[in-house]
Structures are given as C-alpha cells and as structure tokens.
C-alpha cells in the first residue's frame, strides 16, 4: 500500500492554528524562563493544549473524550511543538495514550483526554527494539489483600514530573501507579534538555493496579514505543526546520567583509545540504506518521527508519545553527542552545539512530557479520 505523504488541508489548518497559538503563548524567552524555573513545564501552555483545546488527545476516540483524529494529526502538532521547543509533556502523553488505547483502558483515557498527564515509566532511551517489559529495576510483590506492590527505581524518565498516573512495566506486566501513592517519589534531575526534564522514580511498596500481563502487555507497550519513535521524528523535523529557517534569516542580515555572510558559498552550500536533508526527513517523518496512524504492517520499519534518519538530521541542524550564528549562537541569551539540547536529547529518546539501524538489520533482512 502506498501511503499518502502529503499534508491534508485540514492538517495545514491545524498547523497554522497551533503555530499561531505557540507564537503567542510560547515565545522563546518564555520557554527559557520555564526551563530556568523549578517548574517541570509550562502549566498554562499545557492547560491550553490539553483541557482547553483538546490537542493533547487528538488520537483518542470521541466517545472517550478525545478528538477522534489520528496520529498523523498528532504528528503535525509535534512538528510545531518541536519548532517552538515547547516545554510541555505532549509526546510522553501521546505515547501513554497509545498504550492505553491498545489496552482498552477507557477510564484512564478519559482522564488523559480531560487534561491529566499520564506517563510511561521507562528510561527515555528505551525504544521499540528493547524489551521494555523486562527491564530490571522494579520488583512486584503482593500486599496482604492480594493487590500488587511495586519496589525499585526507574531512572531518567521524561514527561513524568506532572503526571497524575504512571504506567510502570515490571515483571513482564504493566501496572498503573497513582503519582500521589504512598511510597512513590519523583526526583527531578538536572537534564541536558530542561524543556523536557527527566526525573528518577523510586517505589517503596507503592500500591499498584495491574493493567495487563503477558503478550497483551508486551504488544501494547511495543505499539506505544513504535508510535513514540515515529512521532518523535515529526518533532525533530519541526525543530530542524526552525534551525534552518532561523539560520538562513540571520545570514541574510549579518554583514562581515562588506557582504551578507549568507552570500559566501562556504555557508550557502552547507545550508543547501541541510535543506536536502530536511526534504528527505519530511518524507520519512510523514511516512512514519502515516504508517502508525493506519496501523500499516510496515509501521515498525517506518518508525525505525524515521529515527535512524531524522534524529541525526535534527542534531546536525541545531549544530549548524549554533555554528553559523557565531558568537551570539553560543550564548544563553540566544535560543539556539535550547534547540541544540532538545535535538541531542531527542536523538537518544526511544533509542539512538544506531539502535534503530540495528533494528533495521532484522527488519530489512540485513544480518550482521
């Protein structure tokens, strides 16, 4: 089946409205202020995106309080959030939503659609290639009344600091733990990307509810992580596009040697090459979004391809943005560093490009030496 890799008119309209919203509500100076603050994210912006506009639950069915759209629309929102390095737990909530959809947990989905943050309790680098259900760290025991208790730690978890519910893989099963449960603590971590800060979770006899076990849990977690890898590519695309656009505009106005520096071939050719990479990243990211949106049998390969390609493109775009801005690009007072940090953090999220290439060795039948 050939997937349509273009944007629909509705998606373009969605993009326009999200961009206008973010231009107004998340200018970079505010993003920096949030990143510097002890707050994990921009609570006002999250309220706008979730409870007020429903953008955080686009792919949740309408009868569960969502918008009944698809992950292809979610991906368009993520492009714009990447473009703004917006400090909101959108991606993690989208991934948790996919897991809940797979498990058919209507109650938590209704909470999510109402604006609650639900987070998957896995280290941020765990992607579809890893067996996330069997990661060491959390043990399952049983309370006197037979209900499960969780003990252990999960480090470097993203989008979890504001979560009301944590979805915790442990012992081959999936559990829900309320964030205010006795015995659960979340410790913020000074993170490379403070627009999407990490935290460490520790559980000491934390009461939990079993969501699913065995194959059903494994399949749900896997589908959610495939969706995460696919969706992240759109965030990386939006980030890279901002870096290219901003650098191009700067090089038109910055004069040295009596000329705009953008007229020097040494810089023009690098930006042209970056644009060529972006044209391809857009096709790859749209392909991945379309594949997970329709449940294409190729979705796993599409997501691995997207991360193998788009992660490095975003990092390169951010690095070129810093370098071509020269001195100003290396200062705290210019937004370039926010994009650089987000790009590198995103390159690790859901597995590095190298992890995804290794996955492709199996998916594309290219066996190792």
């Amino acid at each position: 089946m050939t997937l349509d890799l273009r944007y629909t008119e509705e998606q373009e309209a969605l993009r326009d409205s999200v961009r206008a919203m973010l231009t107004d509500r998340a200018p970079w100076a505010r993003v920096l202020k949030v990143a510097e603050s002890p707050e994990p994210d921009d609570a006002d912006l999250w309220r706008l995106l979730s409870a007020e506009t429903g953008l955080a639950a686009l792919a949740v069915p309408e009868h569960l309080g969502g918008a009944g759209a698809t992950l292809a629309e979610t991906a368009v929102v993520l492009e714009e959030l990447g473009r703004a390095v917006a400090p909101v737990p959108y991606l993690g909530t989208a991934v948790a939503g996919q897991l809940l959809l797979h498990l058919g947990d209507g109650e938590l989905l209704r909470d999510l659609a109402g604006g609650e943050v639900v987070a998957l309790a896995l280290p941020f680098d765990v992607g579809p290639a890893a067996s996330g259900l069997r990661l060491p760290g959390v043990e399952v025991s049983t309370a006197a009344d037979g209900s499960p208790l969780l003990n252990g730690t999960v480090s470097s978890v993203a989008d979890a600091l504001r979560a009301r519910v944590l979805l915790v893989p442990a012992g081959g099963a999936l559990f829900a733990v309320e964030a205010d449960a006795a015995g659960l603590t979340r410790t913020p971590v000074a993170s490379l990307d403070e627009t999407r800060p990490l935290c460490d979770l520790s559980m000491w006899n934390a009461p939990a509810r079993l969501l699913a076990a065995g194959d059903r849990a494994a399949a749900g977690l896997d589908a959610a992580l495939v969706a995460g890898a696919a969706l992240l590519a759109s965030e990386q695309l939006g980030l890279a596009q901002w870096c290219l656009d901003t650098t191009v505009e700067y090089l038109k106005t910055r004069f040295q040697f009596g000329r705009p520096v953008g007229s020097f071939q040494a810089l023009k050719h690098r930006l042209a090459d970056l644009w060529v990479e972006l044209v391809q990243a857009r096709a790859v990211a749209r392909h991945a979004a379309a594949a997970v949106a329709v449940g294409d049998p190729d979705a796993r390969l599409a997501a691995a391809l997207a991360q193998a390609h788009c992660g490095p493109v975003a990092v390169r775009a951010a690095e070129e943005c810093v370098q071509m801005h020269g001195g100003i690009g290396f200062t705290w007072e210019h937004p370039a560093h926010l994009y650089l940090k987000r790009a590198k953090s995103a390159a690790v999220a859901y597995g590095t490009a190298a992890h995804h290439r290794a996955a492709l060795a199996t998916l594309a039948d290219l066996v190792p030496a």
């Binding site: 050939t2 191009v248 705009p260 953008g262 020097f264 930006l271 749209r286 066996v367």
Partner: protein, 395 residues
C-alpha cells in the same frame, strides 16, 4: 464530457483500449493509438497524448498496460525526450510545434538529445557561444556542443544558442529544436572514464534551421532552458522504484548472499546506506505525489543532489565489500550503449559511472547555489558577468 480523474476511470479506459487493440500487433501502431487515446501521459492535455488527469495517476495506466503485456516506448532510451524536451515543448511550444513533435517523441519514433553544454560553458551554461544568425526566414547555427548523450541516435536536439552577443549573457539566448539530420551536423563519440562512449561531441557547421524550429521568443532562450533544467533534475533523481529497487538493491543482495565478505564495520555502513536510500526513495514518492498537479518545484534539485552522493557512496562501498574481486572490470571496449543503464554492468562500472551523476545535469556545486539562492533566498555571490555584453566577458 467530464474529465476522468479517478484511477477507476483510467483503468476502464485502458481496458476499453486493450479490448480494441492487439498487444501483440504492430508496436508502432499500438503506441500511436495509445497516444491518440490520451493514455500516453495522462496529465498532458487532450489531443496531446493525455486527458488532463492528475499526474499521480500515471502509474495506474502504466501498470495496467504492463500487466497486459503491451509494448512500451522504451522509456530509458528516450529519457531526454520524455523528461526534458517534452515538458519544454508543452510549456513553450506553439500549437503546431506541440502537434508535430510530441507524438513521435512519446512513441519513440524520434529520439531526442540535449545540445546545451559546450567546452566553454558547463556550469556556466548561460555562457554558451554557439551562434544562431538570421538567414532569410531561418537561422544558421555554428558551434560545438559536448556531453551529448544519445546524439548518435537522435532525430532532434533541444538547442541553446546565442542570437545576440552584444546583449547581456542571459538575454542574448534563443532556444531551438535542432534537426540532427540537417547538413552540417556532425556527431563524434566521446569516450568517458568508463571506457564506453555514451556521450558525444556535436559539431554544428552552418546548420540551417527554419524559424518554425525556434521554441519561444528570440532572446527568451534562458527562460525556456530553465523549464528543461528543472525537469532534467527531476528526471535524473526521481525514478519511481520499489524498496531496494535501485543501486542499493545490488549492494544488499551481495551482502545477503556472500556471508564471507561481511565485517561489523561494513555492516553499519550497509545499514546507513540502506537508510539513506530508503529515505530518498520516500522523498521521491512524496515529490511525485506533490507533482500530481503543476510543475516540478525545487525539491527536484534535492533529489538530484542526494541521488548523486548516494550512488557514489553505494558503489564505492560495493567495490570495497568485494575486495580484490571488486577490482575486476568486465571490459574496456568503447561501446555505444543504446540506453542509459547506471547499474547494469559490474561494480567498477557502477562506481565509475556514478562519478558522472554529480556532474551531468548541473554539478552538485551549481545545484547547491541554486538551492541556496532560489529556495532559501540567500544572497548571490558578487558577480562580474551579469551587466556587461556577453562578447566583452573574459573567457
């Protein structure tokens, strides 16, 4: 009558056509009839081989004909005609020129070549020195063209020539359709690094062309040529292929069937190339979906740039993967290939031929300038050659 715009409409039309025409009959008559039925290139207008349908539906028609075992128009042999001459004639030609040239071009009865590059005008194509001088109601052409593939088989050539040396260099050009059988046209094979003579030098000595063979207005040649160049970049980089359908397929088949050649470092290299090839293939799919209506945009340049770099790296990796075996060349005969085939011979041929990909159809360096200035809007480098008359420029 309403235009057929859906795939189903087109399939019905193809089936109706096939019911009335024998696929095993005369090839030329079959192709002519297919053109006249509007099933040649469906996005072309009525009466010119098309139906004004979305371009994206062309594969529906092609696949239906192929499945029925219908003869094709040997597209690899007439790539210059299909990809470059035809869209230029369609856009800039008179009604009479469109009617005269497009049908035999598409049916492959008339092969086309491109008379653009010259020994003194490569990347700086607007500097061409071949002269076209008024002669009664026609023109006399004198000059030398180079890097002309298929000239030895061509019936016609798209020709960029200088009609006004006293004008600025972009303003003094006019575009012609050159009769390759006219007296004064001499085609000499030009041997390349691959050993074969895929290209030619073409010497034009007092070649007389009727004014009806001028395409576009006198002095408008550069604007017409830009239509050709935009389409050329799409034609070179944009072939529709299945996954692993291009040069990457050759490399990964070797990887799969020759376990003794594998090393961990080459494994990652093969995976990286596979990712790049698949990304570029998807980019081509997206580009073609966008092309459904309208002219190719600048993304064609992205395809061409990425394609050239990729084929060079894939073929280079293939040679190294094979080790000493990869150094064995099939032969150094000066063959004259009948159609363009970048991957049909051995690994050393592929590696050598790929070196041409970043030169032909605009060097990668010129394409980067075009992307930087026309797509990204970056300022041009200071130039010395735009204000003065062409004849006064140093060369």
């Amino acid at each position: 009558m309403t235009q057929p715009v859906t795939a189903e409409d087109l399939q019905e039309r193809v089936d109706g056509f096939l019911a009335g025409h024998d696929v095993a009959g005369d090839r030329r008559e079959f192709l002519r009839a297919r053109f006249d039925a509007g099933l040649a290139w469906v996005h072309y207008p009525d009466g010119l081989g098309g139906l004004g349908a979305p371009r994206v539906l062309q594969p529906v028609v092609d696949q239906r004909f192929a499945a029925a075992g219908a003869p094709d128009n040997s597209p690899r042999r007439i790539g210059i005609g299909l990809g470059m001459a035809a869209p230029t004639i369609l856009r800039h030609g008179t009604a009479a020129q469109r009617a005269r040239f497009l049908r035999p071009l598409w049916t492959a009865e008339e092969v086309w070549c491109q008379l653009f590059s010259e020994p003194g005008a490569g990347s700086d194509l607007a500097g061409v020195a071949t002269r076209a001088v008024r002669n009664g109601d026609g023109w006399l052409i004198d000059g030398q063209k180079v890097w002309t593939s298929m000239a030895h088989q061509a019936r016609w050539g798209i020709l960029l020539a200088r009609t006004d040396p006293a004008a600025a260099k972009h303003a003094g050009l006019t575009y012609f359709l050159c009769d390759m059988h006219a007296p004064g046209v001499e085609v000499r094979p030009l041997r390349q690094a691959t050993g074969e003579a895929e290209f030619n030098e073409v010497f034009l000595s007092g070649v007389r062309l009727d004014d009806e063979l001028r395409l576009g207005a006198v002095g408008e040649g550069w604007a017409v040529a830009r239509t050709t160049l935009m389409n050329e970049r799409v034609a070179i980089g944009g072939a529709a292929l299945p996954r692993e359908g291009g040069m990457i397929g050759v490399l990964v088949r070797t990887w799969r069937t020759r376990p003794e050649l594998r090393t961990p470092a080459l494994h990652d290299e093969v995976l990286r190339l596979w990712v790049r090839a698949e990304a570029l293939r998807l980019t081509g799919i997206r580009l073609r979906q966008q092309l459904a209506a309208g002219e190719p945009g600048p993304e064609g340049s992205a395809m061409k740039l990425a394609f050239a770099a990729l084929t060079q790296q894939i073929s280079g990796t293939e040679v190294e993967l094979l080790g000493a075996e990869g150094l064995r060349h099939d032969h150094w005969r000066a063959d004259r290939p009948e159609e363009l085939d970048l991957i049909g011979r051995g690994p050393t041929y592929r590696w050598l031929r790929a070196k041409g990909n970043s030169i032909e159809g605009g060097t990668s360096e010129v394409l980067r300038n075009i992307v930087a200035e026309r797509v990204l809007g970056l300022p041009a480098e200071p130039r010395q050659d735009t204000g003065a008359a062409w004849k006064d420029l140093p060369r």
